[in-house]
Every structure is written in C-alpha cells, then in structure tokens.
Amino acid sequence: MEKTAVGSLSQLTVGVGAGDMATADMVLNIGPQHPATHGVLRIALTLDGERIVRAQPIIGYMHRGAEKLFEARDYRQILVLANRHDWLSAFSNELGVAMAVERMLGLEVPARAIWARTLLAELNRVLNHLMFLGAYPLEMGAITPIFYAFTEREVLQAVMEEISGGRVHYMFNRIGGLKEDLPAGWLDRVDDAIAAVRRRLPDFDRLIRGNEIFQARTRGVGVLAAETVLAYGASGPVARASGVDFDLRRDEPYLAYAELDVPVVTRSDGDCYARFEVLLDQVAASLGLAGTCAQRLRDLPPGPINVRLPKIVKAPEGETYTWTENPLGINGYYLVSRGERTPWRLKLRTASFSNIQVLGELLPGCLVPDMVAILGSMFFVVGDIDK
C-alpha cells in the first residue's frame, strides 16, 4: 500500500504503512438531489470524520433566467413570472413588482386596494410560515406536524382561492391595485379562517416547541451571530432570531403597515430553536394583523380596488428601488426603465439568496446530523435563490 496522497487533492490514504494516523478530509456532496435538501441546493462539505470542516453552498441548479425574461415581458406578464421565484410567497412577490411600477408611474393606489393587499400579504406570510413549521420538524424525523400544518394551510388556501382563483400562484396584483374586488361575505370567511388557525396554534406549541427531542436537536445548534447576519445581509426570521431587530413593515412601512402596530418577533439566541420560535410566533402576530386589516376593510367607504390604466402601461424613464418584508426576508426590486412597455432591467434581491450564503459560516464545526437541522432552519426556497 504505497498509495500515499499526492498533490493537493484530498485523497483517502488507507493502510498501515501510511505512518502517522492522520485522517484525510473527505468531500461529501449534499445534493443537488438529496432527501435532506429541499429543492436542488447543493452543498459541498469537507468532512473530518463526522465534523464539517468547510461548507460551500453551490447554487444555480434551478436558474430559470427570470430576470432576463423580465426584460422581454410587459409589466402584467412580469407579475406572472415574479410570483413564481419564491413559490411559497407568491402574493408578496407580485406585490413588490407592482409597487415598484406604481412608484415609477406616480400612481396613487385606492385605499381599499392597499388594505386588501396588506391583508392578503399577511395571509400569505402565515401560509408560508406554516409550510416551514410543518416541513422543518419533518426534516428531523417528526412526521406528524406537517399534517397539522397542512390542515391549517388548507383553510387559508380556500380563502385565497376564493378571492384570487389560485391556490399557490395567486396572480391577483395588478399595476394600480388588485384584479377584482372581494367576493361578498369573503371577509367573514377570512375571519373564520384566522380563528381556525389561531385555535390550532397551541397544538404546535405542545407538539413541537415543548418537545424534548426537538429541543435537544435544535437548542445551541447552528448559532448565528448578529454580526454574521449583518455581514451577509441575511434578513427575515433568520436575522430576527439572532437579535437583529429589523422589520421593514415597522421600520420602513409600505402598504398600510404605517397605520398598523406591527409586532416584531425577535429572539437573541440565534440557534435553530430560536429561528423556529420566531416563525411560530410570527404566525400568531400575522394572524392578528390580518384580522385588523379585515376589520378596516369593512369600515372603509365603498370605492374602487384598482386604477383604470391604459392597455399598454409604460413606466417612465428612470429607476427605482422598492423593498418589501417578504415572509422569508427582505425582497428588493431594482427597476430601471427606458420608458418602454418592458423594463430595461429588473433586478431582484431575494431573501433566500442572502440567507443561504451564511451556511458557509454556520456549518463548519458542526456534525453532519446537525447539518440537516441547520439547513432546515434557514428557511429558504430554492427558486428564490436562483431566480
């Protein structure tokens, strides 16, 4: 056995004759197809035994050229595409594009549209968080919670489908407001849905939050420091779990958030458990906001829900940057227009992209089994990483 390692390539040296008992590093690919990743994120792990020495997230397996496609589609068609990059927060994605174009046009959106958008954005946030609240325990072997999460999601999706016609890709925003007004009695059904989800939230507390096994796997695992959050531009629940008290809905309000008292859920531990808790408490907070919006919609005087625009909408020459607090973090839209019916450039800044970059800092030093817990707690959607 004279096959000693040659060159810089890490090779496994086997045999007694190798002399010193040094172990070689092993490079292990997690993904692009792997049961522990959701979607096609690939992580190249360098392992020293069970311990991760280096982790490099490799992205691009789901690149669909959305930004380039935006340049060849008019603003209404862009909404179709924008709603798809993060398929769990379709409404919030449309919203950002619509708001960017409206700002360029200097368009005043009717009050009913603003409140309805706020309501739908919050319902979308709850839907998104419920997905992760179910899927995260699932990744760690707890199969039951996802069934509970999906029962609640179904209640909300029924309400979303009734107003928009879609269960996932709502396609309900238009430049200048919403596509259609609310169906009669819809607000009551929203209230019922909110009440139903709220009733079931304590179950999540008892099923997952208090579970010793879940705590053992998540407490103190994957601690993300606030400095790292800031350095990498992570945002959303991931950042707030590390004590970064930043939420655009409160700090730079858009839509009707300025008139709402937005509770910002934060934790200081920065571990997987804290990230999960932020998500869980955010659901309760968002349900409260949605309830308030529904009440405000009832009290509003009758009026239009969109602005009548000419058939061809052309954003005037110029540029703007809009950002919104999407369920997974900050989404930014940099829109450059040359006054044509398509944007010259529409750059997306997506939450998942920044959030997973932290993995390179977070994973080294962890054990392989912890990697699954950390990966799941970063709450990302692969489509949102690659666009």
């Binding site: 589609r73 209404r76 068609q77 909404l79 179709v80 595409l81 009913r112 039951t144 509970y148 029962t151 179904e154 029924a158 489908e161 009734e162 107003i163 928009s164 016609g165 879609g166 890709h169 396609m171 596509k179 259609e180 007004d181 609310l182 169906p183 009669a184 009695g185 819809w186 607000l187 179950d203 008892r206 099923l207 997952i208 208090g210 579970n211 010793e212 096994i213 879940f214 705590q215 919609l297 009832r298 509003l300 005087p301 009758p302 009026g303 239009p304 829900i305 058939k311």
Partner: protein, 206 residues
C-alpha cells in the same frame, strides 16, 4: 426549564390523542368532489361565437400557448355598400402543458370569448392531448359558473353599471341602443353591419 422529564413528549401525545377524537378533514377525492369557488382557475373555456380573431389573447400570453388560425372571408356587398371582409376562425387551441394559468388572455379579451372554469380533471397520459382544440374548449363553456356577488364596499361591476345606464336613459338613447343589443349573441349577422370598422383592422394587425 426545570420540568418533569418527558413532559413535552406526553403533551405532544395529548395533541395526537385530541386529533384522534376529531373528525377527519380528508376528502376522499374521486368519490367526493371538491367544492371550488367560481373564481377558481381550473381550465379556460372558449365561447367561439364571441371570438373575432383579434389575436390579443395569443399575443398577450406570456408563454405563447394559444394557437389561432383564421382566414378572411368576403361578405357580399349589401345594396349600396361595399364588400366587407371578416375573419373566420379555423383553429383555436390552448396548450395546457405550457399554460401558466395566469388568466391574462381572459383579461385582455375585448369580446368576452374566454372564461375561467373551476374544472380541473383533465389530466392526460400523453402530453399532446393537453392541447385542447376549439371544440373541447367550447365544451368547457357549459361548466363556467356565475361570478360571485361582490362585497358591499365594492364598486358595482362595469357590466351592471352599463346595464343600469341602458335601462334608465330617455327614449332618444334607447332607440339607438335597441338594435345594438340583439347584435351581440348572433355575431354572424350583426358584426359586419354594426362594427364594420372594428373587426378588419384588429385582424390585420395580427
């Protein structure tokens, strides 16, 4: 965190126990049909009697999944007039394997020829069969539901305002409106006489 060990697990089991006593939420789909709201985007229906082959839907479609073929037909000149050219639909097909279900085609249709219907059970073994030709699209028309009533705070639908306006005005306007009304359903007879300027340019630009 000084708790009785295993308390969390027992509480979790309590949730399971509670769920055991609750009615199941599962719908046994093929036996129980889901109740879908009227706005549900299941499949697109075509009312080809209303279609003027203006091609707006095909052009506005973000992924160009609508195929339209047509030819021009010259109508014999009415007495004292000139001959009219109109478009005749030869093929109208939507490829539902490409369709993104955004509804832009329905929104842009100026003559209400396209509608959403909540029907969803049209899965096929062969991807080519997902292209629904005009007769199949026309069949879906029978499943189009009435739109839902709107919230009290909503502006009345523009069709309602138009209808109210049509009912109220003085006899002068009513006389003008009366012949225009029956012209819509029976297109073949009405269009050439009522909208001679609208149709040919729309067809030409396609």
């Amino acid at each position: 965190m000084t708790k009785v060990p295993g308390k969390g697990l027992v509480e979790g089991l309590g949730v399971t126990l509670k769920a055991l006593t609750r009615r199941s939420v599962t719908q046994q789909y093929p036996d129980v049909e889901p109740e879908l709201p009227p706005r549900s985007r299941g499949v697109i229906a075509l009312l080809e009697e209303n279609c003027t082959v203006c091609m707006l839907c095909a052009r506005e479609c973000p992924d160009w999944c609508i195929y339209i073929d047509s030819h021009k037909e010259t109508l014999p000149a009415p007495e004292g007039g000139r001959a009219r050219v109109r478009n005749v639909l030869d093929r109208f097909a939507i490829d539902f394997s490409l369709c993104m279900y955004c509804g832009i085609c329905i929104e842009v249709c100026p003559f209400d020829a396209l509608f959403w219907t909540p029907e969803f059970a049209y899965a096929e073994g062969d991807i080519g069969d997902l292209t629904h030709e005009r007769d199949r699209l026309r069949e879906w028309m029978w499943t189009v539901p009435e739109p839902p009533a709107l919230d009290p705070g909503a502006e009345p639908a523009k069709e309602v305002t138009a209808a109210q306006k049509a009912q109220q005005p003085p006899p002068v306007q009513q006389a003008r409106q009366a012949p225009a009304r029956p012209a819509r359903p029976s297109r073949s007879a009405g269009v050439a006489a009522d909208r001679p300027e609208v149709d040919p340019p729309a067809g030409d630009s396609s």
